[in-house]
C-alpha cells in the first residue's frame, strides 16, 4: 500500500466537506483508480460525468498516470480565475 496526499478545491472541496486528506491506496494506483477510491469512500463527492483536472506534485497529470508514495494529488474543476 502507498500513501497519497489528496487535495480538493472549489466545488469539489465543498461537496466533499474536506480539503485535504491522506489516502491509502494499493501499489500501482493510477489517478483514475484514485478517483474510484474517493468516490466509494466519500459518496457526496461526485467525480464521474463531469470535467475534472488533476495535478500531481503541482503539475497537470493524465488519467492514467501511476502514483508514487507521498505524491500530492490535487483534483479540481476547470479553472475560472481572472475576469470574463
Amino acid at each position: 500500500m502507498i500513501q497519497i496526499k489528496v487535495r480538493l478545491f472549489a466545488t469539489l472541496r465543498q461537496s466533499a466537506g474536506w480539503k485535504e486528506k491522506t489516502i491509502e491506496a494499493p501499489d500501482a494506483t493510477t489517478i483514475g483508480d484514485l478517483l474510484k477510491i474517493l468516490e466509494q469512500s466519500y459518496p457526496t463527492l461526485q467525480l464521474t460525468g463531469r470535467s475534472l483536472y488533476a495535478a500531481v506534485n503541482q503539475e497537470y497529470a493524465r488519467f492514467d498516470q501511476l502514483l508514487q508514495p507521498g505524491d500530492e494529488v490535487a483534483i479540481f474543476p476547470p479553472v475560472s480565475g481572472g475576469i470574463d
Binding site: Y53, A55, Y60, D64, G81, G82, I83
Partner: protein, 164 residues
C-alpha cells in the same frame, strides 16, 4: 503588497502603481497593464444581472509557479520583453476592486507589451488553478471555466486506457 515578487497569489488588495514598480526597468519605456475588475453588473441576453462580491480560491503552491511559467513563455515568444508580473487576489473581492493584474514592460511600445499582456490573461484563465465564486443577494455559485480538452481527465481515450 510590499512584496517585490513578480508572480504572486495574495489576499491583499492589488495596486496598479505597485505592479508597475515591480516591472520597472531603466531600459523599458512602455508598460502595458491589464486590470481585471469585479463587475457589479453584467449585461446578459435577459437583462442586467447584479453581483454582490466575488470570492476567489487558489491552489497557491501550483498557481504561483504556473504564473511564472506564463512569464517564461512570454519572454520566449517576445524576446524584447524586459519584465512580466502577474498578481492574482484570493478571498473576498468587492465590486470595483482588481482581482488580477498583469504588467509587461518593453523598451518600446512596438516590442510586444500589448500582445504579451493579452496572451497572459488568456493563458491564466485557461491553466492557472484559481476558481471564482459569484455571490448574489440570493445565493452563490462556483464558476467553471471553459473545459480545456488537453487537461480534462474525462477525455474518452484516457478513460478508455485506464479501463484496460
Amino acid at each position: 503588497m510590499n512584496s517585490k515578487k513578480l508572480f504572486e497569489i495574495t489576499d491583499q488588495p492589488l495596486s496598479l502603481d505597485n505592479i508597475a514598480a515591480r516591472v520597472s526597468r531603466p531600459d523599458c519605456g512602455a508598460i502595458t497593464i491589464f486590470d481585471g475588475v469585479v463587475r457589479g453588473e453584467t449585461v446578459t441576453q435577459t437583462g442586467a444581472r447584479g453581483t454582490d462580491f466575488l470570492e476567489y480560491e487558489a491552489y497557491a503552491e501550483m498557481a504561483e509557479p504556473m504564473l511564472a511559467r506564463i512569464g517564461a513563455e512570454i519572454m520566449e515568444q517576445w524576446p524584447k520583453v524586459g519584465a512580466v508580473s502577474i498578481l492574482h487576489r484570493i478571498g473576498r473581492c468587492e465590486i470595483g476592486e482588481a482581482s488580477v493584474l498583469i504588467a509587461v514592460a518593453t523598451p518600446h511600445r512596438d516590442d510586444g507589451c500589448f500582445e504579451a499582456c493579452r496572451y497572459a490573461i488568456e493563458r491564466l484563465k485557461a491553466v492557472v488553478p484559481i476558481w471564482k465564486q459569484e455571490n448574489w443577494a440570493d445565493g452563490q455559485v462556483w464558476v467553471e471555466g471553459p473545459r480545456q480538452p488537453e487537461l480534462d481527465l474525462a477525455k474518452p481515450e484516457l478513460s478508455g486506457k485506464s479501463a484496460t
